[in-house]
Amino acid sequence: MKNYPNEMLKKLFKRMYLIRYFEEQAAVLYQKGHIAGFCHLYIGEEAVAEGVSENVTAKDSIITSYRDHGHIILAGVEPRKVMAELTGRIGGISKGKGGSMHMFSKEHNFYGGHGIVGASTPIGTGLAFAHKYREDGGICFAFIGDGAVNQGQVYESFNMASLWELPILYVIENNHYALGTAIKRGCATTNLSIRGSGFDIPGKQADGMNVFAVLEAVKECAEYVRNGNGPMILELDTYRYRGHSMSDPAKYRTREEVEKVKETRDPIKTIKIEMQKAGIPESEIDTIEREVIAIVDDAADFALKSPIPEDSELYTDMLI
């Protein structure tokens, strides 16, 4: 691992802890009945979103599927707008009409937030098409889950992205379970990084629980894509601590399996150790934690105080 300046370590920690604590508070609001429907938490996978996000420039675009809270916050959307979307309020990023799975921000080049598994992959490929069409120098970061990699449209996208040399990095977030189906039960081949080999798309694997490993792998892959070489696939080995959604008790895996990952590979524990090694005092870490807690508490407060949409909103935003 290369040496990171202390400020960078603190930044990485703060952003990952922001996602962790945000999602924990979302779970609390869900359990209290303020959030409803399907709500997919990102706890455990923070290093993936943060490691990618550090490589995203203002020219680039991002797209993901329904486990999107962390991604949209790291893209720059205020946590209070994300939390208010979860509570279905007018102050939400989609005015309360999208909910957990459907959040977007054109301003931040964040194109969803999609509820249909696999559908965001061709859309992301279309964002990359637009980068190339306009010659704007941007690339698309398209997240794909280990469940989505078995969808046919993913391979249709790989084919055209390679054929047309589109600037896109497909980031496979392999958290090992497609809802309740372990990867070995759903994927005929479990090395997902080579799923593009039939289309001449190079692939790479990295430890998605270690933010430094993610950062460095994404940097290398993004550079390849930026240099006009066409698409690339990066598979990140990660893990979600909670069920697939808030409605899932996750009985398809053992408590021991989850605990072992939390003890040995937790991305936040790992970076805390690095911060200590770098000599960052405990008090500074505490300060960052308190800042994050204040941000999330403010978001939760806003999300409960923001008004519910007026009835007149029912028919707005249907057509332009």
Binding site: S94, K106, I123, L127, F129, Y133, G152, M318, I320
Partner: protein, 328 residues
């Protein structure tokens, strides 16, 4: 303004070419649209004029290229996605409905999706079940987009141009049998027809006949038989399925008080069903008789020539329905 007599396929090509000249963000993608000049020769000459960057041959991969079109539209381009047949768009319908039509609403108005999905729809000749279905009511069912299905070449041109300029997703239904039919079209590079407005094709006082797309051909074919029988029909071409111009139908019913709807599609939950319902809701007192419909028979389109012929609307069926609704 002068008129020129051109085929529907040329009117569609002119519409695309003019809009591509006008706006560099407009591009065409689909199977065989470029080097082959379109599987029905609708995109004839576009590759030569605009080059491979803007006229793009895709692999046979409807879901994938529809999704790519949607993504490009999110990013602010204005794709025209051609389906060789809307029967193949079944492979892509998730991208059309879930990704294109819903994004504006789901994003609280933040992401728009200005895209046109166009291609042949409905029965042709002897293509059998998997290449012959009419999807007007499938797409018409869904809010968040517009559905256009013209008949005359001038409407094809004016409405396709308007659809390309529209900020919303548009499903533009053509018909293989129409591509070669010739009509007069204004000689005007800026000829636009407003989406969502029906066209009164023939004024009459006895009965209102409504159809769209190739269904209008059945009405035009039946027109003489009707007048020979002493019936004076008012004929309305919907041109747009969604938003539906129910007001033009109601206005006509004030005169005729009788309505027959003709469509190429299936009867169950079809466009005729919707029109009958809306007329009952909004103009029940205008009716002197129940609304009748002439649609495809409630079967898959058969291959055998005789069976295919009797499965679709024709002059005899229309005449029978008109006589029935008029109590003659």
């Amino acid at each position: 303004m002068g008129l020129k007599n051109i085929a529907v396929r040329e009117a569609l090509r002119d519409a695309m070419a003019e809009e591509m000249r006008r706006d560099p963000n407009v591009f065409l993608m689909g199977e065989e649209v470029a080097e082959y000049n379109g599987s029905y020769k609708v995109s004839m000459g576009l590759l030569d004029e605009f080059g491979p960057k803007r006229v793009i041959d895709t692999p046979i991969t409807e879901m994938g290229f529809s999704g790519i079109g949607v993504g490009a539209a999110y990013a602010g381009l204005r794709p025209i996605v051609e389906f060789m047949s809307f029967n193949f768009a079944m492979q892509a319908i998730d991208q059309i409905i879930n990704s294109a039509s819903k994004v504006l609403y789901m994003s609280g108005g933040d992401i728009k999706c200005p895209i046109v999905f166009r291609g042949a729809n409905g029965p042709s000749m002897r293509l059998a079940a998997q290449h012959s279905q009419c999807y007007a009511s499938w797409y018409g069912h869904c809010p968040g987009m517009k559905v256009v299905a013209p008949f005359f070449a001038d409407d094809m041109k004016g409405l396709l141009k308007a659809s390309i300029r529209d900020e919303n997703p548009v499903v533009f239904l053509e018909n293989e049998l129409l591509y070669g039919m010739k009509f007069d079209v204004p000689e005007d590079d800026d000829y636009l027809v407003e989406v969502g407005k029906a066209r009164v094709v023939r004024q009459g006082k006895d009965v209102t006949l409504v159809s769209f797309s190739y269904g209008m051909k059945y009405l035009m074919d039946a027109k003489d038989a009707l007048t020979d029988a002493g019936i004076d029909p008012e004929i309305i071409d919907l041109r747009t399925i969604r938003p539906l111009d129910i007001d033009t139908i109601l206005e006509s019913l004030k005169k005729t008080n009788r309505l027959v709807v003709v469509e190429q599609g299936l009867p169950f939950a079809g466009i005729a069903s919707e029109i009958a319902m809306q007329v009952m809701e909004k103009g029940f007192d205008l009716l002197d008789a129940p609304v009748l419909r002439v649609t495809a028979e409630d079967v898959h389109v058969p291959y055998a020539e005789r069976l295919e012929q009797i499965s679709i609307p024709n002059t005899q069926k229309i005449l029978a329905a008109v006589r029935n609704v008029m109590g003659k």
